[in-house]
Symmetry: none
Subunit: 420 residues, 2 copies
Amino acid sequence: MRSVSILATGSELLDGRVVDTNSNFVAKELSERGLKLKRVLVVDDDMSELVQGLRDLSTVSDFIITSGGLGPTSDDLTRDMVAAFFGVGLSEHPDAVAHLEGFFAKRGRVLDSQNRRQTLLPIGATMVPNANGTAPGFAMTRDGGPTVVSLSGVPREFKPMFLDTVLPMIEARCGGVEPIQRATMKTFGLPESTVGRLIEGLKLPQEITVSYRAAFPEVHVVLKAPKSFDLAPHVASVKDALQRDTIFTENPAESFITSLQQLLISKGLTVATAESCTGGMVSEILTRTPGSSAVFHGGVVAYSNDIKERIVGVSHETLETTGAVSAETVRELAKNVRAKFKTSFGVSISGVAGPDGGSEAKPVGTFFVGISSESRSFEMKCLYVSERQNVRSYASYVALDLVRRAVLGLPAPEGYPIFR
Amino acid sequence: MRSVSILATGSELLDGRVVDTNSNFVAKELSERGLKLKRVLVVDDDMSELVQGLRDLSTVSDFIITSGGLGPTSDDLTRDMVAAFFGVGLSEHPDAVAHLEGFFAKRGRVLDSQNRRQTLLPIGATMVPNANGTAPGFAMTRDGGPTVVSLSGVPREFKPMFLDTVLPMIEARCGGVEPIQRATMKTFGLPESTVGRLIEGLKLPQEITVSYRAAFPEVHVVLKAPKSFDLAPHVASVKDALQRDTIFTENPAESFITSLQQLLISKGLTVATAESCTGGMVSEILTRTPGSSAVFHGGVVAYSNDIKERIVGVSHETLETTGAVSAETVRELAKNVRAKFKTSFGVSISGVAGPDGGSEAKPVGTFFVGISSESRSFEMKCLYVSERQNVRSYASYVALDLVRRAVLGLPAPEGYPIFR
């Protein structure tokens, strides 16, 4: 098997400001295809260090991916490093010029001399397109030696460059790996440890590899097995173990919000939001994907009691007697926002996100969700003990998951996990 | 300066199951003391790979920290690796025997033969105590060669072992290192390439190291120099070059939103939001930090024209004649939400986040921001060509940055990103 290594560059990786997540991403992608990284080496933005690092890796690797150092500033040395490694010079690459001129033209700007540095590639290199940034990547090889592919270090640029261009190159070079099949189940509503325990209890045959990924607050499960293996019955038993309802999609490309959006569109349903502690996070999630205007028309962020009362019409008495964090308040918020915004569903959240503001009766992490529709309204009280931003994310997911359950006619669960 | 490197071992790091957080931890701890990691190398649990990796690092490092491979199972090879590197054998170390016997006795168990493997250390090594697990660490050196310190890979064991034993060893060996000073400038409003060009134009003296970090949509600049160097005048010239206004904080621990929140609190000012394309992202950012209720009472997400008209009171005529993505619409949104919510500022955004919905006059990435206050109201048109979620983030930052500028009495810039 051919071996793949990574050379990650950048002083921000060595002084601790940034965690190298690109290497982990590559490791996972290769692993899913039955390939494994040979080495990861992190070196500083220093010419002799960089070239020495590349030489060290070249003794044990057929394929070296470098990340970082492709920007327009003076500490971006990757182009020079690769040129020095192969003993060639740099020259303006026509594809890189076209990419950068196009990138700037689209923004009504001209390519200045600073950014023009990014068009200089080692002589003999092929450009690797970068759809999400200015810096073009490149690939280079010499007879018998390793292939070196240099990508932008910015994760949202690195990842698509790796998936779109590098992975096919690696698969072409490292062919002959046994094909595998996989089954994905994306869940919400059970803690990762519970998901793990339920699946381990099944004692699946050893042909199956189970991997878990906590994509907070979702938990994804992937079963992998050789293509020749009959995986279907085991997928069915895993789904049963996970109580089926907790699985919101089995499509690896679909996210929580795209699956909910498709569901709402297919039924012609719309949602309005009234948020307190989540401060607009539910509506932000609802509008992340194109086409969201079909299901979402708007909402109110009612952060203070005054706004809850004056703008959303929660009664003064309710706020006085039960408080803002209560079933009564979220009931009125959900009902009133649905009426005002003329939607199928009204969704509301009020809670104590912390770190302050908790009480014995309503500790930090307590939140109420209200769902109102023409046929049915209900409220749920939850407690999720964590840091502020996690409490808010979790509460937002609970609200949206309750909409999903309401649309599908699934029972509202007794209570979402109480991690305490 | 003495140089410190890390050898991280374990197939779970190379197949993507685990992210190597120990290296980032060490990098940060060293960085705070003016030291920097030289290299991080991740290798597989394979004897020849491990020894080769250690040899590679020993050519450039005076101090090598290894993580992982100290457990009781057959894939735990670190003890053998270090012994092979130094050309010595293994023997039961009395301190390690005492540690393990004590560990098991405390739990009412006896030390079995499997766990007894962990008492075998390279001959000549010193034990490094592990208060949180069975595996003792160890340190070893030879005249003139590097010091190798092997620690458990489990973060909650690794971290205290590093802090309690290794850091004092490094400080003792690397004593006399000149302490460094740093100056941080976090900016918003200039692309990274412009920031780089402006600073490179200053031709700073070579004692100063400049590093850049793009924390989208922010760009952070850090200047580092020896403590004895007079950095202040150069910090001043960098600030001038960056037009001062673009720097929202010089405090490394402060974020964009915490600095804005402090500013608003100090002046007793409040904000209300009326968001279209950002769908609640501005209010979500405003409520991320504790204490946000002092400056934020609420907002409206007016995603459809109907909501803009019925709930926020934008005139039907404005929406008909200029459209929802226009200066007139954001002006009415900002003004009306400020009046309804009774705040110091009204902030509004309407735009084309994409990927669809663009036109020749208003391509994808076009957005308008409106700011309304008692003394002054203005609107700004921007074009930021990127993917949907980036356009939304960028637009949210522009809106909040315009509030910052309005509070500080800074001029509104001619146009942001100036990616246009």
